[in-house]
């Protein structure tokens, strides 16, 4: 199998502000968010990153998507270093997180053209891709409605469309169904399947076990910044549920 994403010994430490130290009830000035994390994701598979809040999932995804830099280690997409060549990497990845928002004032149609141009697409490519994605997500009818006037579900659909505008090889989703109603969440999961069928690689961060069980081929369990398990879903679960497996591992690691 062809390795599309290779994550090697990532380490990221954050300096805590006094306020954060107070909130953590700790005098530690630094927090190790990601500690020597490594894993591979292969072409055409959905890789699920599973872990409790604060485990380092979002930090890992942010490093892979070039938004922040690792202190040590690196990630490679199609063999290109995220650290050394972020501009090239950005052409190959799509990134969607609940933190990424669209400007309320504009319409989906305008934002599509805007981001497509920033991704250096030609006019013909933009029109073709727009028709395809707007039809697939049912945005056509709402394409001239301002973002602020769209429903939460429709906003999320537009965000997804914007994140994959340039038809990237690897798509990173950080908690993609967070805060969505069941119907929109279903649209998102169906879309993830479609991406897989198209041979795209999806990296999915979530703490919803059912979603991982339903979608993922391979799972990485992160606890306190470390990769505790990284295996095929079938190898991990065998005759148990993913939830049971996760809590067994969690108990062993954290002891609670």
């Amino acid at each position: 199998m062809e390795v599309l994403l290779e994550v090697k010994d990532l380490k990221k430490t954050f300096k805590l502000t006094k306020r954060q130290q107070k909130l953590n009830c700790s005098k530690e000035k630094y927090k190790v968010a990601v500690n020597g994390l490594s894993f591979n994701a292969y072409k055409g598979e959905i890789y699920g990153l599973l872990g409790p809040n604060g485990a380092g999932k979002t930090t890992t995804l942010r490093i892979i998507s070039t938004l922040i830099k690792s202190d040590e280690g690196d990630a490679y997409i199609n063999g290109i270093s995220v650290k050394n060549n972020p501009g090239e990497v950005r052409k190959m990845i799509g990134f969607l997180t609940s933190e990424l928002k669209l400007e309320d004032f504009f319409t989906p149609n305008y934002l599509f053209d805007y981001f497509a141009t920033l991704h250096k697409m030609t006019k013909e490519e933009i029109e073709k891709r727009k028709t395809e994605l707007f039809e697939r997500f049912g945005i056509e009818k709402f394409k001239e409605v301002k973002i602020c006037d769209l429903s939460t579900g429709m906003k999320q659909k537009v965000s997804i469309v914007i994140s994959i505008i340039h038809n990237p090889d690897i798509i990173i989703f950080d908690e993609p169904t967070n805060g969505l109603d069941v119907i929109t969440a279903k649209t998102v999961t169906d879309f993830l399947f479609e991406l897989k069928k198209e041979g795209k690689t999806v990296i999915l961060s979530t703490h919803i076990f059912s979603l991982v069980e339903k979608l993922c081929d391979r799972v990485g369990i992160i606890i306190e910044g470390r990769m505790i398990k990284d295996d095929l879903l079938s190898n991990l679960t065998k005759d148990k549920s993913l939830e049971d497996v996760f809590f067994e591992i969690y108990k062993q690691e954290v002891g609670e």
């Binding site: 950005r90 990424l100 141009t117 920033l118």
Partner: protein
């Protein structure tokens, strides 16, 4: 470059089609025009009253003073009836009579024969009602006439005695130059700064608050192109806002100062010099305010951090009032902010040398370049960009 143009176009679309932003950008200019015009017309009304009819009662009026109340354009009705003092006071209180003037008997003769220090001088009592505009006007006029007359009694020499003669030989265009070089440097820099303040504070800090900055940063567009796109679009918008304020001020100035403005002294060269200074000033302010906005976690924080900068600019602007013109030392045209004020003084007073103008423009371009470089570095710094 195409990506930079796209960013500029998108930002300008937001600024110029969102009615809330448009309102906040251009309202100050319109308000300046309306308020200054109203203030000016109130002031001119106060100085040039429209009331021309007056009702006056005089007792023992000397023949020599009769000409006082013969004023061209005024209709002063002098009551023939001999009022009792108390009766006249009641009429004035009721605003039925504007003035009651009571001279002593043989006032003029007694005045001529009076020696200073030789006893009681002859007197005149004038009753009026300051709450009645007509009464206040005629009282002020009449006492002025008497004052003037009194000063001529012991007259040894006169200075500019003819009130109808224009002794000041200033031309309208010179007056325009003087007034503009005095008030404009401070006002213009303040307008340029406040024009930039609102939108620049909102620019990056607002995107951080809304979470839209990351969406932009994961595109393959170079950070320097993002920064330049933002600064140019903010600069264009700030300049449009400042120009509206400036036009509002220029249009209202004649009404405010009561002077007819003659701009013929300012040629095309002056206008281009001014434009050059305005462009670099707006870009400098935009760059600095965008840096502040980038450091800040929220729009509120960005506005607070910008306040000291505004105070600094106003204080430097006040240096205009402490000097009699633009400075001659070329090195001073390299000092940021100060060089802008001095160049504007020089432009408005038509005394700026080409060398000083170029020094000011190029030094500011250099500061803007440093600012853009700093901003690009800041956009690459996750601690700054994601410091929510």
């Amino acid at each position: 470059m195409k990506e930079m143009k796209t960013i500029i176009k998108k930002e300008l679309k937001r600024f110029f089609t969102d009615y809330r932003i448009l309102f906040s950008l251009f309202l100050p200019g319109v308000l300046i025009f309306i308020m200054y015009s109203i203030m000016g017309s109130f002031m001119s009304k106060a100085m040039d009253p429209k009331i021309t009819e007056f009702n006056v009662a005089i007792v023992n009026e000397p023949e020599e003073f009769k000409s006082f109340l013969k004023v061209e354009g005024w209709e002063v009705k002098i009551n023939e009836k001999d009022y009792e003092k108390q009766e006249a006071i009641e009429l004035i209180k009721n605003k039925e009579l504007d003035l009651y003037i009571a001279y002593d008997e043989n006032f003029y003769m007694n005045m001529e024969s009076y020696e200073v220090g030789s006893g009681e001088p002859p007197k005149v009592e004038i009753y009026y009602n300051s709450s009645a505009e007509s009464s206040a006007i005629i009282y002020s006029y009449y006492t002025e006439c008497l004052d003037e007359f009194e000063s001529t009694i012991s007259n040894k020499f006169d200075i500019n005695p003819n009130i109808n003669e224009n002794y000041n030989q200033v031309e309208d265009k010179d007056m325009t130059v003087q007034i503009l070089s005095y008030v404009m440097p401070l006002l213009l820099t303040t307008f340029l700064f406040t024009g930039s303040l609102g939108i620049c504070s909102e620019s990056i800090a607002g995107e951080k608050e809304r979470g839209t900055i990351a969406t932009l940063l994961i595109t393959p567009t170079k950070r320097s192109h993002i920064v330049l796109g933002k600064i140019i679009s903010l600069g264009i918008t700030s300049m449009a806002s400042s120009i509206v304020s400036f036009i509002g001020l220029i249009l209202s100035l004649p009404k405010l100062t009561g002077t007819s403005f003659d701009f013929s002294s300012y040629g095309v060269g002056t206008i281009f010099s001014m434009l050059g200074i305005i462009v670099v000033t707006v870009l400098l302010f935009t760059t600095l305010l965008t840096i502040i906005s980038t450091i800040s976690k929220s729009v509120k924080e960005a506005t607070s951090y910008s306040t000291p900068l505004m105070i600094l600019i106003i204080l430097i602007g006040f240096s205009n009032f402490m000097s009699s013109g633009a400075v001659a030392n070329h090195f001073l045209y390299l000092i940021p902010f100060y060089n802008i004020i001095q160049s504007l003084i020089g432009i408005f007073s038509l005394s700026l040398s080409t060398l000083d103008l170029l020094l000011c423009i190029f030094s500011n371009i250099f500061y803007i370049a440093i600012g853009v470089f700093t901003l690009t570095k800041m956009f690459n710094n996750e601690k700054i960009i994601f410091n929510k």
